[in-house]
């Protein structure tokens, strides 16, 4: 084998490696993810209509390295996905969702970060606005086998944490 061929092979291997390192993933979560199991502490009955308002920054994209890829997260897509999951779950729990409702829960996704020792995990940080009060909530989803699964698991976990948050429940049940 000639030296030229050896050099070509080495260059090819390096190029392949570099190409893999700079690969970008832009999986945006769908809006039909079911919430992770949660315990909703609300008594069944007739509830006041509610509105869920997504106030996440519409333009912010956060990049997060993960294994040999770079994950690009558009925060507004996360806000939409969490809002949609929450609406679905609230309806299941007997709430009426109305755009005119006076009772509002504001959802603001402020950060998305990938953690990946061996397997990826997506961490979402949110601010929940209820009754003029702002609460910080963070997900703690499990490690997943792919970035896409990690993102979807984080959305499901985020919805579950909001639905089982005692302050949110107190606000919804007028027990604050």
């Amino acid at each position: 084998m000639s030296r030229r061929m050896i050099a070509a092979l080495l260059m090819l291997a390096t190029a392949l490696l570099l190409a893999g390192c700079s690969k970008q993933v832009a999986h945006q979560p769908p809006t039909d993810i079911p919430a992770a199991p949660y315990h909703f502490d609300g008594k069944s009955g007739v509830f006041e209509p509610i509105r869920i308002e997504d106030v996440t920054d519409k333009d912010l994209i956060i990049t997060s390295p993960c294994t040999d890829k770079i994950y690009k997260a558009k925060l507004s897509a996360f806000g939409e996905a969490i809002t949609s999951t929450l609406e679905h779950e609230f309806v299941k729990n007997g709430f009426q969702i109305s755009p005119q409702a006076e009772k509002v829960i504001q959802i603001e996704v402020i950060d998305v970060a990938m953690a990946w020792p061996k397997m990826p995990r997506c961490d979402i940080d949110m601010v929940i606005g209820i009754n003029g009060q702002r609460l910080g909530l963070a997900t703690n989803a499990k490690w997943s086998t792919s970035i896409e699964k990690a993102v979807d698991a984080a959305i499901a976990d985020a919805a579950s944490r909001i639905l089982s948050n005692q302050e949110v429940i107190n606000y919804l049940l007028n027990t604050q």
Partner: protein
Amino acid sequence: MKRNFFTLFFLVPALTVTMGCSIKYTSSRIMPNAAISPEKNYFVLCHEDDARHIDLTLVEEMNAMGLANVTSGFEQDMPDDTDVIVLFEDRWMWDITNYLLMFKVQFRDASNNILIARGQSVRTSLARKSVQIMVQEALLGLFNTEAEEV
């Protein structure tokens, strides 16, 4: 020629795999309209699995970066006047010896748990460094406001 080919056949994948073992990155972000102020009181929250007392290293490094009012301990030890809670996560792996694979730190407002800033340092086996260096790496981006990384 045949021997050379077989050497390369094994050398190239070995090189690729070895280079893959040497990955390092840091990532940090301060939330919009948030700041890490030296006037505030910081409390580094320990976790029970941490036998290496990483909290003490974190306190030391935060002091070195200009934050004077930093204490650490478990939740019940938290002073009432704490403004910011500092949480950390450490992931260890074994490769001949134990090494810190990932160190992640979060600054949260003590009154409402809202994230103020976060930093992360990842180093795989061949790029391993001491706990102190990785803590520094995770914090450095937060204190270097000119190099804001999103």
